[in-house]
Symmetry: D2
Subunit: 337 residues, 4 copies
């Protein structure tokens, strides 16, 4: 950490800051410029409390030097993490497509969806049993019954299953049925939940919050990793911006950046990132070209009857065509599908 003193800082204020630094067992390195004094802190391990230093007299601001995440960082774990899930691997050369309806709406509906995404070439089945909805008056999901239906669909199709978990006490139940536990965007900083899935025996797909920075996403991954679960998959699903023609703005920059900063696999959710099914195919191809390890796509046999997110769900036929075009793009960038 670096401490930038005010131009008006006195000798005594500078001494007080260095004394505090040494109290912490760190070393202070003073550099006097023409206008300002800068104090470098040579640490003894993390973390230092920036706010404490910033409240000392004569201090203008502090600048962190080290990245605040460690277990998630590629600096200390150069090789890619590959997460194996019942015969499917996420993070290797082969891309993984997880597809299915936004919500599990019933047994028949899900079986039909599961069969159709399998036929099209998806390797995993997605579907929500517990649904976070903005309105208390919207369909909230089938709960445990939805989990049983998902498990039945896995039985029938052989596709592993990913589904969302919304609170710490649901973790044991959802872990019984799901192959991957999904943390939704609204819960990316629900620390009680991150703690709980950090102790679970299942891989976790962590969605970026719609207004969370890349650093915050990696810090939330750090929570899970620091509680002992190292099977974490990052998911870029669009961020909130001022643009109104789309539901969210896919941060495509985040894909190569996350791959540089971290060893964890990165998947993209083009359905939420656009909110419009007409854009899903183009954006899915872009995600693969940018280096994503997989995709999480909403597919519904009858979107105009979907109980949630119909506007962004692909029908099975365009989904099948999309898979074909993704194969070509994957090959163009040295991957396969």
């Amino acid at each position: 950490m670096i401490v930038v003193m005010k131009p008006s800082a006195t000798r005594i204020e500078i001494v007080n800051v260095t004394a505090r630094i040494e109290q912490w067992g760190c070393r202070a390195h003073i550099s006097e410029g023409n206008e300002r004094t800068i104090i470098g802190i040579i640490g003894n391990g993390r973390p230092l409390d920036r706010a404490q230093i910033e409240r000392m007299r004569g201090v203008e601001r502090t600048v962190p030097v080290l990245r605040p995440f460690k277990l998630a960082s590629r600096d200390f774990h150069p090789q890619d993490t590959v997460v194996p899930i019942n015969g499917v691997s996420i993070g290797g050369k082969t891309l993984v497509v997880m597809a299915g309806p936004c919500a599990v709406e019933g047994r028949e509906e899900l079986m039909e969806a599961a069969q159709s995404v399998k036929s099209a070439g998806a390797q995993m089945l997605r579907g929500g049993a517990f649904k976070p909805r903005t309105s208390p008056y919207s369909f909230q999901g089938l709960g445990e019954e939805g989990l049983r239906i998902l498990a039945a669909a896995r039985e029938q199709t052989g596709l592993p299953v990913i589904t969302e978990v919304m609170s710490p006490e649901q973790v044991p139940l959802v872990s019984t049925f799901a192959d991957i536990l999904q943390i939704g965007a609204r819960n990316m900083q629900n620390y009680a939940l991150l703690h709980a899935v950090g102790e679970a025996q299942r891989p976790v797909l962590l969605k970026r919050g719609m207004m969370s920075t890349i650093e915050e996403l990696l810090m939330s991954a750090e929570y899970i990793l620091s509680h002992g679960n190292n099977r974490v998959i990052l998911c870029e699903r669009g961020i909130r911006t001022f643009e109104k023609y789309t539901r969210n703005t896919l941060d495509i920059n985040a894909v190569p950046l996350l791959k540089q900063l971290s060893h964890l696999p990165v998947v993209v959710d083009p359905s939420h990132a656009t909110g419009k099914w007409e854009l899903v195919a183009a954006v899915s191809r872009a995600a693969v070209a940018a280096g994503a390890d997989g995709l999480l796509i909403e597919v519904h046999p009858h979107p105009s009857k979907a109980l949630s997110d119909g506007a962004q769900s692909l029908k099975p036929e365009p989904f099948t065509q999309l898979i074909a075009s993704l194969k070509a793009v994957a090959e163009a960038v040295g991957r396969e599908l």
Copy 2:
């Protein structure tokens, strides 16, 4: 809800949309313009599923007409809600200042803080026992011991206590000690938690998420209200924008707008909204001038030793001065403190 058809929509597509509307038990009202057909839906009560209609052929988009919140809306509850809390009332003519440290750090520290905010003129004591922190390596709060310390400080000073609750299973415990349950910004859309506090026997202060619209804030209030708890206080605490000189951007427009849209009391947290103690006084005065019903301010006797948020905490002396200046502003706008 209004349905805007594409310019290319066919007669059959229009008929299909109106048939769907009638299936729902609503009436369709067709209006043919020169370029497009518009279909108004005259509802039978809420909610309609926009996405289902948007996925029908020939539909360009839908436009909601009604506000999606009802219990929180002033339309159906014109008079102000006033929330009484152990002798203090939030939402009436008298403004309420809740002050104290970001986190409860120890018994002595809190007692000192509580005495000093009381002397300065605060009517309630704030302090976090469970702390949501971006980093798993930061101080996470004292937990239940922190709650006991808060209760002891209430005993000694007579100030009612507000503290954060972070997960559904903490609600009974925190309700035993706290006078107001605080939902933090990161949990504004933690629906399991909203459900739990909706059934609690304590007033709830709901902070706006840093990424959440005013409509979403009111929808989260709707969750709590719809579970039976009508003692909800809204809190504007700054939103995330592109500006980097401040931690957040206080949305001062939200204060009069929330008062227009809703009957619930509105308080402002100038500490998080700025992240800089030097700005807290000016922004607190602005909040009162804009019509806020109260303030939630971080005050710490020794901010440069604070275990969290020291940079935005006021010391007792400037806090005392602030209270004096707030009295003058309150009077200027017909309120009192």
Copy 3:
């Protein structure tokens, strides 16, 4: 346009609104719901003034139905616009790569850069003679001398040249030397400038403002088109968001969306959209996969000596490799390079 009346609107207020609509020579179509009355305006051509209606008593808000752009819209011009420039065509099957340094820094430097981007496979040369810089103390460009150097480089390499024009009175001068006039992001709503290039005899590349919506970009294109210049190329160059690890956030959704909404060609500037050369290759491939018609890339033989934007400039060698990988992605999506 649709007018949503307040729940409290009286009969007289509704009559006044319809009277105003009829004064405008439009027809009003009233639809009475259970809670609110909605009035559809059937227009006589654009535009209507929303704000005037919104200020009438009893009106809650208005909702526009038609897109505000017409000349730029695909609705009225279904086939793609292709802009031919000295033997290169933008908007057809073949992608166009425009490359070169951020600023023209001197004759030798530019000649070296021009030769190297030509060898790598670029079809056009970019370089700024007039530079918009945030600081008045930064290098402001070589001005007219820079234009002469660009023309000399075109002479030598055969590459057409694109360069920025910053004010209306520069338009004749820049038009003498440049093959495409570039409007920078900061000038996207500089209407005097849009007017001037709308009357120029050169194609215009219009960059999206860093905080402008897609609709505003198309409205600025509309200004140029409405002044008689129909050779407009749209450029997505990243928008400003809360994310701090990158300079801007490339709005990849905008690529397929602009292609749907408009007939104009769409190119992407991955250099500004990321601000980091390490991300340029991945993001360029994503842009092509998403359907972009071309790329505008900063390439500098010696980026660590560049007078501006060195951090986002590719060296010639990785640029050559990038072109090779772009060919593969282009083919995967049915294009060529």
Copy 4:
């Protein structure tokens, strides 16, 4: 400036960076931590080119230490700048209210407006003769005729006049008629225009761009100051965020922050900052309470007939009431009106 080297940086890479720093005539100050080396640059005056250093091998990033603005900074000009304008002073103890219609629509309309804002207590008259409009099909202002009408209104009422200038070649003309030249939000980074008004003999009111940081606003002020015009007034007029219920989000934090960072006067435009007349009064009071030196308010005798921005214009009567309440708030914070 501070250079943060990568953990993997070699001895040679560090030597190369220090050599470059010394080439620039600066001194390098090396600080070796456990994980990284940090190099402080002790400058010889501004500016240094961060991007050049960032492109050197082994460099992770650079951190600026000094603020990039100098003439606008309070560090070098501690006392407040007060701008005198025909008997009115902006930046002193007395607040200044500038009011009038968005656009000059005709002689009679403006005279009526001017008389009514004068009676209500405004000290200056605002009105646009040249109007920047998003759509080429909207009313673009009366141009020179509008300027003549403004001058006539000044003659009649004695109120000095502020009006917008949109391009460099309009500066001489507008300077003939106006007392203050206004730079609109969309032109805050129109550097040719900033240069032109920097050489004009009139005070300049510089509006913050809706997409611009506080630092960028001060850098644009620096352009004007560095061209010799030191009568610059800053204007906060709301920024663009994700919130949709209001037209913009007033950044109230910016008011005290700008007063701390700079010696220039700061005024607030509550009309654009909200876009809704119902919010203008509350937000105006907040601006004064936060320390603004003045307000720029849209007032129109007949807003529902206004040719632009009717929805955010106050009628004369509520404006008169607002002035009364502003007097009380001004006194509460030690100012007068």
